[in-house]
Symmetry: C2
Amino acid sequence: MNDFVFHSPTKFVFGRGYVDRTGTEMKQLGFEKVLVVYGQGSVERTGTLERVLASLDEAGITYVEAGGARPNPEVTFVREAIELARTHEVTGILAVGGGSSIDAAKAVSFGVPYDGDVWDFFAQKKPIEECLPLAVVLTLPAAGSEGSGSCVVSNDAENRKLGVSGDVFRPRLAIMDPELTFTLPAYQTAAGITDMIAHVCERYFSGVGAVPLTDGIACSIIRTLMSEAPKVLANPNNYDARANIMWAGTLAHNDLAGCGRSLSPTVRAGGWESHALEHELSAHHTEVTHGAGLAVVMPAWMRHVWRHDTKRFLSFARDVFGIEPEEGYESHRDAVYDAVTSAIKELQNFFGSIPKPVG
Amino acid sequence: MNDFVFHSPTKFVFGRGYVDRTGTEMKQLGFEKVLVVYGQGSVERTGTLERVLASLDEAGITYVEAGGARPNPEVTFVREAIELARTHEVTGILAVGGGSSIDAAKAVSFGVPYDGDVWDFFAQKKPIEECLPLAVVLTLPAAGSEGSGSCVVSNDAENRKLGVSGDVFRPRLAIMDPELTFTLPAYQTAAGITDMIAHVCERYFSGVGAVPLTDGIACSIIRTLMSEAPKVLANPNNYDARANIMWAGTLAHNDLAGCGRSLSPTVRAGGWESHALEHELSAHHTEVTHGAGLAVVMPAWMRHVWRHDTKRFLSFARDVFGIEPEEGYESHRDAVYDAVTSAIKELQNFFGSIPKPVG
């Protein structure tokens, strides 16, 4: 087990109807005047934004709104929101939405106290040391941004999509109300699940040897996602399945599934090859949903690399799919090939069994 | 999945030789003048205390020492340490040791800012709302107190051993250096592992239905402990096994293994029947190690109650031991009886296979 630092200070408040507690919970943590960051309309259509704002009013928290964060949020939106936050002298940020709104809000949270341009952080010109406190109401489980120290922003002018990491900007509070996800379209549900599985896989295939506890947790997350996915696709209002998926999305990316698998304790576990490839894809094609891109990229990446760490892929085959190399093959090599490629095929079949992310 | 609040804000700094980082890490979090709470000599004999104090000196953190916390720490020790902390006007607490030292330190941390007697909190006369910040150097993985919102203290005069819960007194920092556990005697190693398994089981058998993600994590923790235990008992210097056990001890009790299994989001998951029975035992017989008591109590409790939640015990049998009811029995009832009692027997065999906690 390699050395690690694990610091996930977010308070997760998880349950039915909990969106209406947003204001009370924020007030308890000292939030007073916030910038509310959200996306391009779904939180308005579903009534979620209205409920959130009502609960802020009730708790006596004042706010300014910054709507319009697009999927793969763009740095110009972030820059405008930073200006708005400064003009109104807010002392905290509230994101309402999925990974895009949360990542935009994170960038605002560390952009406000910084004199220069926020893109400097993504261009690695400047380390992130300070930020406004951030709360989150999660409506789309996928990116795990509600608990993670990750933030990814696009820069259309430069055709780039870059991420930064750091514990300092992890949310202080995450309101997680699985009922909010009942209205999610099957396609977005599926793309979210794909993203979660990818987050676990990137850490699992980090090139570090087995870490029984972390690996056991990682495989539990993947197995849960695979068992719960068909349930929500059959019945979008299946609360328990929605709840397990929502919580899995958080644990898939708050680094629990990477403890002991980092090459350095200050660096997140994993090579993040599939994510890097997918980011290039969606930087050039902003219409590609992140999870959809991953469903294509990841199995292809696996087929390309598995021979470099056969033992690891055999563990994956066994612990996720119950596939072990069969005896009686002419050569052990053939049996291993068969087990690993069967597992990759199973994963691809799973991605194919949920609403197809790409045509 | 039932509603829950999960807030585990502790920064875990985990790795080889990390005990020497104690001062630096504490300084980063703002600790300046602390009371160092420890036990009855082992941290002095092993040289751990010396290394910790040297790192405090180096970081410019001043300190006062309060050694002598006994196993099942006693409230008179806590009261004296509170006085010492007040006299020297410390602004933080550092525990060096296992659950007993940490629990004593926690009681000091919320006792200092309170005008009345610290036992009031345990006697449920007063809720815990305030505490001095607490850091921990863990030397004995067992109680999980380095990450938990639990604190158990004995009161000899009243023949009582009582616990309190609350997120407010969770440690801010936990230094976890598995190398410190190389010198742990086999008996204490085994008692610690028993305690960890019990922490997971209390939550698993909470009377709430299946929560696939939480249950998967719970069973991963138990399976890891069972697979790593023989390795450290065969070779006490097996770093990876020691590290997996140390981290398992934290996750067994920081409430991750209970998410969605609470009857109320503000109450910890589980009925804690085995712990309650064991606390009575060791309140009257302070020489009984907590883990040792649990190894006797828990399987007996399981045999007594399993018929009240057969489905749950069948899941436990399957997911921890791979035992399923065999077909071909005269009655399904016999097959279920056999599967469940086999699993309980396996657990008891495991407790028997590690150094026997009781003669």
